[in-house]
């Protein structure tokens, strides 16, 4: 049944005490065989299933998720969305995604609350300025909205910011007006609902344990709900992708680390845009509920514990109070971590591999939420056509042998 949401459907349901809403998705048991299995029910995985069904007409698809949909990094990120990346390949990928974001609520008929309040990256020294100006120039030539803001312009936009009286004064910023934030859970749920409608079997609490191959070809996947055969498998398991790849004998250049974030107690609106600073490591935006959503850093060591050291939180908070003196009296409500898979060049992998029928979408590190619809879209293409979309061609696995990296390290503000 197609679910049609609007104020009218809500009014109708209000009359019956909201007891008769249809289920967002079914809870099917896995079948024996699928044309394609997507492992990982985060935004990227659910989106991949959605686009496979919608744009490539695949009928017999399953998505397996070991916990609950959107419970990975999709459900625990600071939701910053932007496309002002330095290198052409990255810029095209993230811009593709941003364009999809702009129509997603309408397309899914599910409000993902994409709020284009703009994203600002601060410069704190001469080196930052050089990097940022270079990036702004590249963005403009790539047709991506991006501007250089003077200190005065920043002060106007974010009056609570302390620009001068701090150890590393704010000297300017880049700004992407079309960037912003979105409701992270909604995109997972929206994709899941519409994929389910098109017949995708979404199977929760089903952990992929071992990817089985034979003669260099995919056979299927051993799961906590038994063995499932498949022609194609797309692994989109974020922090756990490396672990799964290893079961198929593929070594990926990924390291999994905890990345932390925190929210403050909710207050009335005070900051109207997203402000990021790589130099002093503080990222902040304010949610529609009123909390400050603050991104912190990763721990230095590999870990699958969804928590990190308090030192990381401390680093971020001391930068926050320095940049925003009004936050001295704010309080941290909750801190958490997610496991991000980090690639040596800080760019993702959307690629096939030596095993026929096995595809990877991973390495998004600290900044893949913004890419969710775009990554899913080109990954679906890659799986369906067995070759990359031109947008993700550069993000292949071969680059680590050839040396043709897409190195976003140099570009200030890679993260988030």
């Amino acid at each position: 049944m197609k679910k049609n949401y609007s104020i009218f459907s809500i009014a109708r349901n209000a009359l019956s005490g909201h007891k008769n809403w249809p289920k967002m998705w079914r809870s099917p048991e896995p079948r024996e065989f699928y044309d394609a299995i997507i492992i990982g029910g985060g935004g990227h995985g659910l989106g991949t299933a959605y686009y496979l069904a919608k744009e490539h007409g695949l009928k017999n698809i399953a998505l397996i998720e070991k916990g609950w949909l959107g419970g990975g990094n999709t459900g625990r990120n600071t939701t910053i969305i932007r496309s002002n990346y330095l290198w052409d390949d990255s810029a095209h990928l993230y811009e593709h995604s941003l364009k999809l974001w702009e129509n997603l609520s309408q397309e899914l008929n599910y409000n993902v609350m994409f709020s284009q309040r703009g994203v600002m990256n601060l410069a704190h020294n001469e080196h930052d300025i050089k990097e940022i100006k270079r990036r702004v120039s590249a963005n403009n030539l790539n047709g991506i909205d991006s501007e250089w803001l003077s200190k005065e312009e920043i002060q106007k936009m974010v009056p609570i910011m302390n620009t001068d009286n701090l150890r590393y004064p704010v000297l300017g910023a880049s700004f992407q007006p079309r960037g912003g934030v979105a409701r992270h859970d909604a995109i997972a749920w929206g994709f899941a609902m519409r994929a389910d409608e098109m017949g995708v079997d979404i199977i929760q609490n089903c952990e992929a344990k071992q990817i089985r191959t034979k003669n260099g070809k995919i056979e299927g996947v051993e799961t906590s709900k038994g063995f499932i055969r498949a022609n194609k498998i797309g692994v989109v398991a974020s922090g756990h992708t490396g672990v799964l790849a290893e079961t198929a004998g593929i070594r990926l250049p990924l390291q999994s680390k905890p990345l932390q974030a925190l929210v403050s107690e909710p207050i009335k609106p005070i900051i109207n845009t997203v402000v990021m600073s790589s130099a002093v490591h503080a990222y902040v935006s304010q949610s529609d509920k009123g909390e400050l959503v603050i991104g912190a850093g990763t721990d230095s060591y590999n870990s699958f514990t969804q928590r990190g050291g308090f030192n990381i939180i401390e680093e971020t908070i001391r930068a926050m109070v320095e940049l925003y003196p009004v936050f001295g009296k704010m309080k941290m409500l909750r801190q958490w971590g997610g496991i991000v898979d980090i690639c040596p060049d800080a760019s993702p992998i959307i690629s096939k591999c030596d095993v026929e029928g096995l595809f990877f979408n991973c390495g998004w590190g600290t900044g893949g939420f913004k890419a969710t619809p775009g990554s899913a879209n080109v990954f679906a293409h890659t799986i369906a056509k067995n070759e990359p979309h031109q947008i993700n061609a550069a993000f292949n696995l071969d680059r680590f042998a050839s040396g043709k990296l897409v190195d976003e390290h140099g570009a200030a503000a890679v993260a988030h």
Binding site: K19, V136, S137, G190, K268, V280, K329, Q335, G403
Partner: protein
């Protein structure tokens, strides 16, 4: 309203009146009162408005678990969301209610309550999408955002907060009955013990209820006093009061925050709070339990409160919120409340228990009978009604009959939970107790011991036994304790997750999360939509996401869900308990590591001289470096740099290069080692000579550069970039230890030992000969790229002939303590030759004219030496060095990689701008293909126009062709691509 005091409370100083303001009106309380207890004294019940529906809300609890009574403290820089139930009043305090407009009593936002049927769980996902997508940004979102938040943003304030680290053996969290006993058992043992209590009084339950009247034959307050004295006399135990443990991390790392101003206005110039960071071997959690509430229709009305909290107000705060409260319970925890009230001659208006008469403890039954309290067994409160405060309740008994009770106060108790937050933070596992209907600590993950209520041990007779058993591993003092409880020893409860709604309508609400306005209806809806995993349910409904994190309600929600899904509660699980236990102040977390101490400033040994001479500084990493030296207040940076540059080219200039990294390398295998670390070969290099060298990462990309001085095959001195100093040393150490442990080599950083002065310009030789008159600076005696050690006024200095500006020059290395003396001497003798100090910007300009790169500016981690045209620096005969193999990968040998070139504007008046890109076309239609970007660009005083360095695709073969450079206003200028050298291509000036 007459003030109801419990004069017996030992914690309230009834002779010390305190005045404070709430919403502009002055009230009185007593020393020791919280805002909440003081407001009760004044008969105030309406404290705030709820988040979504703006419903009137009062005080629900008496502690940190409070979901409703959040206020703004105007007198403390307008701190928002402060719990009125914790914060103590002081003279002159100003408090304001939150989330209401124009006033608490008349709040326009409460219109939301009328539309509440539409604001069902997740309604916003399903609406605000039409008629056109632009409506979201222009209309819906601004409206939604306006409604956000509870309190108002605070005012600017740099709170003083300090940090304190502790290393101890045992931490006891919670100084209640069990915490005190645990401490007693550790008196004078060999353990360093820290006892942490969030309250300003030790004693916990002994202070908060009349459950225990006597311990070991003494009145409980007497016992506490004596016990504390014993503990304080013990050298190995330290007590921290007013300190809340918020975080229990891995390896028994605890974070606790101490409030230094309890019941007083924080001073601005003193430490307001201390963040304790504690490392310990063992943790004893004796942090007690939390009472939960009950869900029934309109269970949020002001006048409804937890039973144990009511008792705490009476016992701890000496205030009686109501003279005739009704009590509604499903368990034995409220028994002592009745006892407490009767002792004060207060008769509850009714006692309603969901249990049957037989299930109720005999002791309680007798008490109720004896005192003639109206008793409803097998009964439930179906609904509460009232306008902004409780007026009446509807009770349904076992027969299904309902009765109405008019009352202004209702105490509810839905049972108690061990406070497992910290235990689960430590990664201990919980187990559901079917008898006590709560999660209890089960398997600890770390060295964690739980005691008393915190362990789910609710039987007072068991206290002695539990402590002696669980603390045995410490060979402690044995505890002997005789507790005389006032009511039943044992805890008893009946399941009651939710009371079915009384006459249900579209508007009827039983709340499950008071702060976020989540109703049981929302829970049902979420389950029906398929959000049946507890984590989905939380995110869809926002249940337990408020500032209280569902402390009094989350278990009830689990119960409801388990019933709806027909699953055991254990199968439903819990959401994750995350730190902090209660909201933790940003200022406390930042401590003293912010503001003036955000990051250390590293200063050159002659920093003061630079200040005196008007230098403008630049941040380079932590270093402060002179950027340029304006000769007057009005001279612009551009003018200063042009002047400085010109002067160096024409006369001479000197730069303070002390921040450069310097490393001394020595050992039998030093030569071998250096050959492996750098691309260059040092084998044939003569002792006493110097060489420009490159260091690569294993990926073949340029990581650092510097000049290497060879003293002998066993002894080298290397310089590094300022920013790369630490990394280069670390990299050398790493390879020496891990890859080539057989190579005998040691290295020390000597960055701090020596100041470095780079003097250059055509007059340099004359100046140097004057400054160091004994030294022969002739070309023959001191050729380019050599160095010499000299003694100067009994200190050893090193002089190297090298240049980064393109002019002939020297680098002088002098011990830091002699730096100022020699620097001043250089200026003194250089004056007549026109010597001036110059800053980093001039250095950058001059080196760019000469085509010298700056690592990190002209390279970005994607550039090889070949890309830079520095093939000659690669030791051709070396079998190995860092990154060598990477230089022959298929991508690194491509001829069309981005390569370093020079660029000049074809029309000399055009400005080349750093960071802009090189294009093959004049017009910009995006996306336009880019060849690469301009890495450095300056206005050259020598050439009289701008020029630049750029890395562009296939650059080396494009030299001699024309292209276009973009500008920041999206136009292009024509440029010539040239060799990356603009000055003295033959190096004549260097070797002259």
């Amino acid at each position: 309203m007459t003030e109801l005091k419990n004069q017996n409370s030992p914690f309230i100083h009834f002779h010390q009146k305190i005045s404070f303001k709430f919403d502009g009106i002055k009230y009185y309380g007593y020393k020791g009162d919280t805002i909440a207890s003081a407001l009760f004294r004044n008969g105030i019940k309406l404290i705030g408005r709820s988040f979504k529906y703006h419903r009137p809300r009062g005080i629900y609890t008496c502690g940190i678990e409070e979901p409703n009574a959040l206020v703004q403290i105007i007198s403390e820089y307008s701190e928002p969301n402060v719990r009125a139930t914790v914060k103590k009043i002081y003279e002159g305090m100003e408090v304001e209610s939150q989330n209401r407009w124009p006033s608490l009593d008349f709040d326009i936002g409460s219109i939301n309550n009328v539309f509440s049927p539409l604001f069902s769980a997740g309604f916003y996902y399903k609406t605000f999408m039409g008629p056109h997508k632009s409506f979201w940004k222009k209309i819906y979102e601004p409206v939604i955002r306006k409604a956000a938040g509870l309190g108002k943003p605070p005012k600017e304030f740099k709170a003083i907060s300090s940090h304190l680290h502790h290393n101890v053996d045992i931490v006891i969290v919670g100084g209640g009955l069990n915490g005190l006993l645990a401490a007693v058992s550790l008196i004078n043992t060999n353990y360093d013990v820290l006892l942490i209590e969030s309250d300003n009084q030790l004693g916990g339950i002994l202070n908060n209820s009349s459950k225990i009247n006597e311990i070991n034959g003494k009145r409980s307050q007497e016992w506490i006093k004596e016990t504390i004295e014993n503990i304080e006399n013990s050298k190995n135990i330290k007590i921290l009061k007013n300190t809340l443990v918020t975080t229990y991390n891995y390896i028994n790392h605890l974070i606790a925050v101490e409030d230094k101003y309890v019941g007083a206005k924080p001073a601005e110039d003193k430490v307001n709070s201390t963040l304790h960071k504690i490392r310990t071997e063992h943790v004893i959690l004796s942090n007690g339990h939390i009472e939960r509430f009950l869900s029934f229709q309109n269970n949020d009305l002001p006048g409804i409160m937890l039973g144990a909290s009511f008792e705490k107000y009476v016992c701890r705060y000496g205030v009686i919120p109501s003279k005739e409260p009704v009590i509604f319970s499903n368990n034995s925890n409220s028994n002592s409340l009745i006892q407490t009230l009767l002792e004060l001659n207060i008769k509850p208006k009714a006692y309603i228990d969901s249990r049957s008469g037989e299930q109720i403890e005999g002791q309680l039954f007798d008490l109720i009978r004896k005192n003639d309290i109206p008793l409803y067994t097998n009964a439930q409160v179906k609904a509460a009604y009232g306008n902004k405060k409780l007026e009446k309740i509807i009770v349904e008994d076992s027969s299904g009959g309902t009765s109405e009770i008019a009352t202004d106060f209702l105490c509810v108790s839905g049972g108690i939970n061990p406070d497992v937050h910290l235990f689960t933070q430590s990664k201990g596992l919980l187990d559901w107790d079917e008898k006590d209907l709560t999660y209890k600590p089960s398997t600890p993950f770390q060295n964690t011991i739980t005691l008393g209520s915190a362990s789910g041990q609710f039987n007072l007779e068991e206290v002695e036994n539990e402590i002696n058993k669980k603390l045995k591993i410490f060979s402690p003092n044995k505890i002997k304790i005789k507790i005389k409880p006032s009511t039943a020893n044992e805890y008893q409860i009946q399941k009651l997750w939710e009371v079915a709604a009384h006459k249900s309508s579209m508007w009827s609400k039983s709340f499950i999360d008071l702060q976020n306005d989540v109703t049981t209806k929302d829970i049902r809806q979420a389950i029906s939509e398929g959000f049946d995993r507890i984590e989905h349910l939380k995110r869809f409904t926002t249940n337990s996401m408020g500032t209280d994190q569902g402390k009094i309600s989350s278990i009830n929600a689990l119960g409801i869900v388990s019933d709806l899904l027909d699953k055991k509660v254990n199968e439903v699980g819990t959401t994750i308990y995350r730190p902090p236990y209660a909201p933790l102040s940003f200022a406390a977390i930042a401590g003293r590591n912010s503001y003036e101490f955000y990051d250390p400033e590293r200063k050159s040994p002659i920093h003061q001289w630079h200040i005196k001479n008007g230098a403008v500084f630049e941040d380079v990493g932590q270093w402060k470096r002179p950027w340029y030296f304006p000769n007057s207040k009005s001279e612009s940076m551009h003018d200063a740099v042009q002047r400085e540059s010109k002067n160096v080219r024409e006369n001479a200039g000197v730069l303070d290069g002390s921040t450069l990294g310097k490393i001394e390398i020595k050992g039998k295998d030093a030569l071998n080692f250096m050959n492996l670390i750098y691309t260059n070969s040092f084998t044939k290099m003569k002792p006493g000579s110097a060489r420009y060298a490159l260091m690569l990462g294993e990926d073949g990309m340029v990581k650092d550069d510097g000049i290497i001085c060879k003293i002998s095959d066993e002894h080298f001195i290397a310089t590094t970039t300022t920013g790369g100093a630490a990394n280069v040393l670390a990299c050398m150490e790493e390879y020496a230890q891990t890859e080539w442990p057989n190579l005998k080599v040691y290295m020390n950083s000597i960055t701090e030992q020596f100041a470095t002065f780079n003097i250059s310009g055509p007059k340099t030789r004359e100046i140097m000969s004057k400054v160091f008159s004994e030294i022969d600076f002739s070309n023959e005696a001191f050729p380019f790229m050599t160095f010499q050690f000299h003694e100067f006024e009994k200190t050893q200095i090193r002089i190297m002939r090298a240049s980064f500006t393109g002019e002939m020059g020297y680098e002088i290395y002098v011990p830091a303590s002699s730096a100022l003396k020699i620097w001043e001497r250089i200026h003194e003798y250089g004056k007549e030759f026109g010597l001036i100090p110059y800053g980093t910007e001039t250095m950058h300009l001059l080196r760019a004219e000469k085509g010298y790169i700056i690592v990190g500016q002209d390279t970005d981690g994607s550039i090889t030496p070949i890309d830079l045209g520095l093939n000659w620096m690669i030791g051709k005969n070396k079998t190995d060095f860092l990154g060598k193999r990477s230089l022959t990968r298929s991508d690194t040998v491509r001829s069309d990689r981005k390569q370093l070139v020079g660029i000049m504007p074809t029309n000399k008046e055009d400005q080349i701008q750093e960071g802009q890109h090189i294009l093959l076309q004049e017009t910009i239609e995006t996306p336009v293909p880019m060849l690469g970007h301009i890495t450095s660009s300056y206005h050259s005083p020598t050439m009289g126009h701008t020029f630049g360095l750029a890395v562009i695709k296939d650059g080396h073969s494009l030299i001699g062709t024309k292209a276009f450079a973009s500008t920041s206003d999206q136009k292009t200028i024509p440029i010539d691509i040239v060799k990356p050298i603009f000055y003295d291509e033959k190096n004549e000036r260097l070797v002259s």
